[in-house]
Amino acid sequence: MQPGYFPANIIFALIFFAALGFFSFTVYKLYRILRLGQPEDRFDQIGRRLRGVATFVFGQRRVIQEPAGWGHFLIFWGFIIITIGSLETFGVGLYHGFAYWKVIGKPLTAILYLLQDLLCAGVVLALVVSLYRRFVLRPERLRFSDQKAANLDACIIISLILLLVACLFGARGAEYRLTQLEPGRYFPSAAFISVAVSGLFARLSEASLVVWYSFFWWIHTLVILGFLVYVPFSKHLHILGAIPNVFFRRFRPIGELSKMDLEDESVETYGVSKIEEFTWKQLLDLCACTECGRCSENCPAALTGKPLSPKEMIHNLKKHLLAKGKLLTDAKINPEGCAATELKKALAGEVCLTDEIWSCTTCGNCMEHCPVFIEHIPKLVDMRRYLVLMESNFSLEVQTVLRNWETNSNPWGLAFASRGDWAKGLDVQTLAENPEVEYLLYVGCTGSFDTRAKKVTAAMVKLLKQAGVSFGILGAEERCCGETARRLGNEYLFQSMATELTELINGHGVKKIITTCPHCYNTLKNEYPQFGGNWEVLHHSELLHQLLNEGKLKPRRRLDKQITFHDSCYLGRYNNIYEEPREILRSIPGLRLKEMERCRNKSFCCGAGGGRMWMEETLGGGIKRSMRLAPTKRWPKTLRLSESAVHTVPPCSRTASRRRTKKRR
């Protein structure tokens, strides 16, 4: 059964084409399932997309942000090299005389074989480490609800790869020895590991060597082809899904949620209640998941015992997609008449529990750290949209806050006519009084009504005046930006609020806006263009930073304190503002800035985003409480807060202040 000779090569060809055919068919079925999804245009900026593939797939940029990611780097490149080598192996399987050195020359082949040796050894090392991590270290992010299945899947893959590599070395070792004995064969001695392995075959006869070589060759080849067939059915589906997913990744800011078309009267359903109502790209996401767990590792809901774990959610959606998709694409099945439960499952409610859907704070940690650019948040918001707009299925607290926005344009339902009262005695003009100003200071609900936040607004006014900045406010005319209504899924309410506010602001001829709240900032900057609001929007830290640099503001007093800065989600991860607040703090004499362990794009969410501010936290532990814990086994890298923390977001500061008062007691 020596490979490349009759009848082995015919048998091989049959097996090879069968495997390839089966694989292609599986891929084709997957493609058809993806086609069930709704249209979405991700074909813009092809050049940038290709560069993204180079950076994030071949460069493994996000993967290696974690030390353990280097293991995957090795495995990934090992896999590439093995694939390149496999082509030679298959060539040999068809005709024994085929060899790379005959095509690309001996020097290049030597380099290739050396690389193969090194990387395969690297792969073995990485796999051993990964086994150690999975079964001994057992980090949080590898935890899974169906742990047995996940571990089994991992073991199968790891075993297969180890077997594959072992056979590769075995075959090579035998081949090297054969090369010593047969003329016309070439095996670069540069591939020193293979050469070392060949020592095992030192005293064998040529016939034995051929047998060993064939044996290893066949096992190696069958494992590869078996792998090819198995991949789409395991988490290694990500091998197929990840590259396209990275190619089609999102360029729009994550702070810009999609705008629903509410004008179209023929539309009968809003939001997503069935898996096929997601776009094809959202479905592709599910096929790209590597189950690395980095999303859940950083998720404030998952870390505090809420039903939501982004990894589990993606996994459940994937399972459902594949099961339901299979039924839907089967021409023999009539979906209406079919009794299969998978067809009847409610997406929001059964595949994903409503508690799961409501647990999300939209902090963006999942999307920031996902190596394959899965977009978790838009899926959750789409399901929320269905729950809110179609079923009115939400808690009484959410109903209260929605009504409050509708009636008084603020979440507490306080009289809208009193919105401008914070400015009494501060000598600030409204735009109605004086429209000829450079900036609109958009105060927001918290800045207008909350006791603590009003002090921030007043301080901001003072600083702007000191710096001689020309600005005005809307005063009692101001309306809520509606950001949270959109996060809660009430797109209808949001659109009416956004349309109203845009008209109001544009009616005053405003070109530039300053705001103190990162949520208002994010929506005014990234989402209001959907409604005709195209302004230059600055967060107050950006402006203050600018004013400091221009010398228009100078810190006068010394403040001898140790302080840390908590990056709010909507400023940091959403809008990449990390340095400006820090530089402002550093410019204050005497202030010592210490960084928390989780800072910058790993900052731990305060738990108030995504509308959660307005909901009771009844499940799991308190996100707000967990903010103050020292590192524990349960929450390994939560922040350690020094004496005082500086926050940029009104909700963050309020939840943290409750925490601090508790601590003081």
């Binding site: 509410l262 009267e265 009968e268 359903t269 809003y270 707009l389 179609m390 079923e391 009115s392 939400f394 009484l396 109903q399 929605l402 009504r403 009636t407 008084n408 339902g413 306080l414 009289a415 809208f416 006519a417 009193s418 009692a476 209808y492």
Partner: protein, 263 residues
């Protein structure tokens, strides 16, 4: 089964009230108009019966054009059609005048049950609903906090001081609703509901359509009227009570009894 809900539009309860120039009505400049909360509970109660027993729910309102918005909001919750009686001749009516208009309109609409809030949170007259029942000569069950239907009878429970009373009546009957938001939890309209509401029938009628003559309603026919509105003793910035503990306690009790009339 035909259920009619009497619906009024009132200023949102958070509105800062300012007395208008005439001294007997409020300034309407910065008012957000909403469905009277008790009428909203009435809509919810009607819709619950619709869900469980099947019924047509009609919204009937008396007032100016702006009420259409609130009628549509009730339609979005699930009511089937609306009727608005909008006639300047009815302006200035006292409670009895308003009840006459509503009763006349109701005579033209088949009804098994009439639901309405026991009072409107603006003028707090607390009588129109019951007066309608009297004019239609049907039983009324007032201040309901629960409503059930069984064996063709409508049953309610209502709180009185120190007790809960259960009443029942055959139909047609009028129910006024008490309770609170946490008890009734009026449903939030779904978006399809809002869209459909735009197309549901909403009739506008005049007094002439109701076979009512202007002398029976309006300011001229009123038996009672508001002659002036007064702001209460300064409320905005609060009164800090001073003195020693005993004196403060005494003063607080006095204020609550004499000024606030709450104990």
């Amino acid at each position: 089964m035909e259920i009619i809900v009497l619906l009024k539009q009132v200023p949102d309860t958070e509105t800062v009230i300012k007395i208008g120039e005439d001294g007997k009505s409020i300034a309407t400049s910065s008012i957000k108009w909403v469905i009277n909360p008790y009428d909203e509970y009435a809509v919810e109660a009607a819709l619950r019966l619709k869900d469980s027993q099947g019924a047509n729910v009609t919204i009937l309102s008396l007032g100016p054009q702006r009420m259409v918005e609130s009628i549509r909001a009730a339609l979005a919750m699930g009511a089937d059609k609306g009727v608005l009686v909008d006639d300047p001749a009815a302006e200035g009516s006292d409670a009895l005048g308003k009840a006459r208009v509503l009763a006349a309109a109701l005579k033209q609409i088949p009804h098994d049950l009439i639901f309405c809030g026991h009072r409107a949170v603006d003028d707090d007259e607390n009588q129109v609903g019951i007066m309608v029942a009297e004019l239609l000569d049907i039983p009324h069950l007032g201040l309901a906090v629960t409503i059930e239907m069984a064996d063709g009878l409508i049953k309610i429970s209502r709180p009185i001081e120190g007790a809960k009373v259960q009443l029942e009546s055959p139909m047609p009957a009028l129910i006024t609703l008490g309770g609170a938001h946490a008890i009734w939890q009026p449903r939030y309209a779904s978006l399809p509901g809002i869209m459909k509401a735009k197309k549901k029938p909403l009739e506008v009628k005049k007094l002439a359509d109701l076979e009512l003559s202007p002398e029976q309603v309006g300011a001229a026919a009123a038996k009672i009227m508001v002659v002036s509105l007064k702001m209460p003793v300064p409320r905005q910035s609060g009164l800090m009570i001073s003195g020693d503990t005993a004196a403060k306690a005494k003063e607080l009790v006095r204020l609550l009894h004499e000024e606030a009339n709450v104990i």
